[in-house]
């Protein structure tokens, strides 16, 4: 098997600037999304994900412009998510140059939206983003949460990811909201539960603080790809260092 495991730096973008906070508090400004995307491309990132975390819809045009600028300079796949609620939103993002679009809350509120989007644009460009938290009475089952983790839906993560895979999602972006921003590593039990129960690729997200965490996401969690934000933004590690570490552990990466 020669399909390489992917490293995906994530840009959390608010009003056209890259930011990354700890559990959405203490947001630090990390810079211009286009410059950062280019740097990641040069360093050998396998894809780039951009999440628009701007709360209001007034700045959507800024988002489309940012997507267009990144896409015209970076020749690796670009996934865009955040606030995607309608077929029209997907169409606009794809037209702006996104290769994949990630759907989160809108899928939870209306699962048929996933089906409709996959039928219309193809599974290859529909990513379902799943934010997960341990259930309150459990240490081995997780539920889907929305609104940045504030709203517990009671939907079981394993059942949900199986359902959206059936509905035509091409990939799952799985974020542990218990770990996001903590730098304690991925919740690999969660990642493994999902990756071992569905046939579509799973991207592990939430909690990366060092390079061993990336390796664990693949070797323990069984993820096809690992996503991280802050360790790359603040130049704690370069993408190349991450790849070298993964390669040394026996993981196939694109050099």
């Amino acid at each position: 098997m020669t399909l390489a495991k992917r490293i995906i730096p994530c840009l959390d973008v608010d009003k056209g600037r890259v930011v990354k906070g700890v559990n959405f508090l203490n947001i630090r400004d990390a810079g211009d999304p286009i410059e950062i995307a280019k740097r990641y491309d040069d360093e050998g990132a396998d894809e780039i994900t951009m999440l628009d975390i701007t709360a209001s819809h007034e700045t959507r045009d800024t988002t489309y412009k940012t997507v267009e600028n990144i896409a015209s300079q970076v020749f690796i796949p670009l996934t865009v998510g955040g606030g995607v609620r309608k077929i029209e939103d997907i169409k606009k993002l794809l037209r702006s140059g996104a290769d994949k679009v990630s759907i989160n809350t809108a899928a939870v509120e209306n699962p048929d939206f996933v089906k409709e989007a996959a039928d219309k644009f193809g599974s290859q460009c529909i990513v379902v983003a799943v934010d997960a938290k341990l259930k309150e009475d459990s240490s081995s089952s997780w539920e889907v949460v929305t609104y940045g983790g504030r709203n517990r839906t009671g939907i079981d993560v394993q059942e949900w990811t199986t359902q959206v895979a059936d509905y035509g999602a091409g990939e799952i972006l799985l974020t542990s909201m218990d770990r996001d921003g903590t730098k304690e590593g991925f919740d690999n039990e969660l990642v493994f539960q999902v990756s071992s129960s569905i046939d579509i690729p799973v991207i592990a997200s939430g909690g990366v603080g060092n390079l061993q965490h990336l390796i664990d996401g693949i070797q323990i969690g069984g993820a096809e790809a690992v996503l991280a934000a802050s360790i790359f933004h603040f130049s704690e590690f370069t993408i190349q260092e991450a790849k070298d570490a993964m390669k040394d552990s026996g993981i196939v990466v694109r050099a």
């Binding site: 399909l3 690796i76 290859q124 096809e224």
Partner: protein, 203 residues
């Protein structure tokens, strides 16, 4: 001035294909068009495809189909992803679809499992079976970016192969046609090199 046309039959985003060609172009004019006169006047053809193959095949009007088939028959042509699949004999996607039957081979579903995920999504190695002008300056077994759930597993026109569970054909070539399953426009330096070779390709 050499004119390259990216054929627009209403499926998917062609922006990234034309941007990538522009990035390596020195003097060529690159247009995205569905206009049959523009396609007839062009020197080279890029034939992309994204999404479900049935929708792609049905997106062609009778006129456009006739023009495209005539021009592909004689001009340097680069077909990408579903565009590649459309040049084969048939596909089993969408309950079975007859394709243009220009290249040898059929399109079948990739077998999925918990280990072999489908879509086949990400960077994989392209192993050369033969030499070709469009592979110049690209090392054997370089990584390219793939995203697809169907593939062609054998063809008389096979040029390279890639393994995801089982081996499949990742590039096909015949006369003036070069067809790839991966996305050169998403394959960074190696992909740009392939576009550069296409622009320099004389047959």
């Amino acid at each position: 001035m050499t004119q390259v046309v990216v054929i627009d039959y209403g499926m998917g985003n062609l922006h990234s294909v034309s941007k990538a060609i522009q990035a390596v172009s020195s003097s060529e004019s690159i247009v995205i068009s569905s206009n049959t006169d523009v396609i007839k006047a062009a020197d080279k053809i890029v034939f992309p495809g994204v999404g479900a193959i049935k929708d792609c095949m049905e997106a062609f009007s009778v006129d456009l189909r006739e023009t495209v088939l005539e021009e592909i028959d004689k001009k340097p042509t680069l077909a990408i992803c579903v565009g590649m699949q459309m040049l084969l004999k048939s596909s089993e996607e969408n309950g079975g679809v007859d394709c243009f039957d220009i290249l040898d081979g059929k399109v079948t579903k990739i077998n999925a499992s918990k280990e072999i995920k489908v879509p086949h999504m990400g960077w994989n190695r392209v192993k050369f079976l033969k030499e070709h002008d469009l592979l110049e300056n690209i090392p054997d077994s370089s990584f390219f970016y793939f995203v697809h759930s169907y593939c062609c597993s054998s063809s008389e026109d096979a040029l390279t192969e890639t393994t995801h569970g089982e081996s499949f054909i990742s590039c096909l070539a015949k006369d003036n046609i070069f067809a790839v399953q991966f996305h050169p426009e998403k394959s960074q330096d190696m992909g740009l090199e392939l576009y550069r070779n296409f622009l320099n390709w004389n047959i």
